[in-house]
């Protein structure tokens, strides 16, 4: 479980990538990236999330928690919701098969 907070833009997206990569190095079965406390998500952040998801495929189940207009809506607009498993709550993300 990785909790992310604040704003993810061109300047801060690399830090997000580093955090996710560090978490994936632990080789968890499932990695949940919780964006509930993120109040701004730019396409640079989405690119990082997609890149990490691609890296995880086959090895780690990569899931995102997101809700609302700051995070879920932009991801929906770019079609990310069709590529990556995105849940509205942490409980749903953890409970899913």
């Amino acid at each position: 479980m990785l909790n992310v907070a604040g704003e993810i833009d061109l300047a801060t997206a690399p830090q997000l990538g580093e955090s996710i990569n560090a978490a994936m190095e632990q080789r968890p079965e499932t990695l949940v990236v919780d964006l509930s406390k993120v109040d701004f998500l730019a396409s640079a952040g989405m690119a990082v999330l997609i890149g990490c998801h691609q890296q995880a495929q086959g090895n780690i189940r990569f899931r995102i928690v997101a809700t609302g207009s700051a995070t879920f809506r932009p991801m929906e607009l770019t079609g990310m919701t069709e590529e990556i498993s995105i849940y509205h709550t942490r409980d749903e993300a953890l409970a899913a098969d």
Binding site: E7, D9, L10, A11, F40, A42, S43, A44, M46, A47, I50, G51, S69, A70, P74, L77, T78
Partner: protein
């Protein structure tokens, strides 16, 4: 807090104008100033969120693509209220040459598709001297 160089010569009162180097670190300040300005002129919160994200994506595009031949260039963010048409006009201008969006598995070009999803009114006007992205948001009107 000094967010950027405000061009005071020709900015009518109430308009927003920032001219900054096109680097990632300067964009958050502009984004926050734009959000504050949009709220002040009466744009509803949900629309402000869309306006700020779309404008940010246009600015990020400038930072990433406009000045690939140079070390650094400038970015102009302007916002004003068009009273006659009851709308906000936001423009993001650079003075470089856009690289065409790369086709690399959908990771690039996402910013532009995001802008198009957030507002149906975005236009991109390239010239030999640079590119301007223009976006409009309707303002609520008083109806008696």
């Amino acid at each position: 807090m000094n967010l950027g160089q405000q061009d005071l010569d020709s900015v009518p009162e109430g308009d927003l104008h920032f001219r900054v180097p096109a680097v990632p670190g300067r964009l958050a300040g502009l984004r926050h100033a734009l959000a504050e300005w949009a709220a002040q002129v009466g744009l509803p919160d949900e629309d402000t969120e869309a306006l700020v994200l779309a404008s940010y994506e246009a600015m990020a595009n400038t930072v990433e693509h406009a000045y690939h031949n140079q070390t650094q260039g400038l970015l102009d963010l302007r916002a004003r209220v068009d009273d006659k048409q009851s709308r906000i006009v936001v423009t993001v201008t650079d003075y470089g040459q856009w690289k065409p969006p790369q086709l690399s598995g959908g990771l690039r070009g996402r910013g532009l598709s995001l802008i198009q999803g957030l507002t149906s009114t975005a236009t991109i006007t390239p010239t030999t001297g640079g590119t301007t992205v223009t976006m409009f948001w309707p303002l609520p009107t008083d109806e008696n």
